[in-house]
Amino acid sequence: MNSLFQDDVITISVASNPRFLTLIRCMVFNTALLLKFSEKISREIMLAVDEAITNVIKHSYNQCYEKEIIVSLHLKNDRLEIHIRDYGKKTDPSCIKSRDLNDIKPGGLGVFFIRKIMDHVEYDTSPEEGTLLKLIKYKTDCGPSPAGGHNGD
């Protein structure tokens, strides 16, 4: 792999309607494959992004389906960086936690998947309106060591 991808950004703007999740998924999955992630990892990245957008719809936008979500895919040689921008309710990032897996209850798995799968998860609430969620997945051997991989989880 050479530096072909250095500056490529793909941007998708879509309404906060769950029916569009499937479109974002195919986009993310195929982008990960383009970057030569394995099919298994590509599938996981797709799941993490699905969960993140599901949370934007549920929590930032309170199930209001007509708001805007902007997903941008940053194709780098050593990683895929995904930004999810919403203009909804902000939350203190320290309150966004996955639940204990031993506590079997509906809900609370989304954040678990996101943190389990991605190498870097950062909720940036500094924009005047809404939140910018930054997700990063490194190519094998390019990222932080496994021990430090699931940051802050």
């Binding site: 999740l21 499937t22 969960e51 599901t54 897996l101 509906p106 809900g107 989304g110």
Partner: protein
């Protein structure tokens, strides 16, 4: 997502096709609730043609499991492909749900009296 429900005695088999996410899981929830309310206590979800499931789908299944536990019913899952199985494994729901390779094995294992 499409769900075909096949009832016989107190058992229902759900043949689910497609993706189970935030968009589709309400339909699965409704179908589960209707079936349980009808008094069917043994529910088998056939995942042969399920292509995708996320935490919204898993939450719906856990809800169904809890409802059935209350009425001494059972929920079983079968015929998952590797990708779906991985999601259950990572979330450690493999231990919570009774998962079978074939429909027959699952059906034979319902603890009816």
């Amino acid at each position: 997502m499409e769900i075909k429900v096949i009832n016989s005695n107190n058992t229902a088999v759900f043949e689910i096709t497609g993706e189970i996410d935030l968009y589709n899981s309400p339909q699965l929830r409704q179908q589960l609730t209707e079936t349980i309310n009808k008094g069917l206590k043994f529910i088998l979800l056939d995942f042969s043609t399920v292509k995708y499931i996320d935490s919204s789908g898993l939450a719906t299944l856990i809800e169904g499991l809890r409802k059935l536990n209350k009425v001494k019913g059972e929920i079983k899952l079968c015929c998952m492909n590797k990708n779906i199985r991985d999601v259950f494994e990572v979330s450690r729901l493999e231990d919570i749900f009774a998962i079978y390779n074939t429909r027959e094995e699952a059906l034979n294992d319902f603890k009816k009296d």
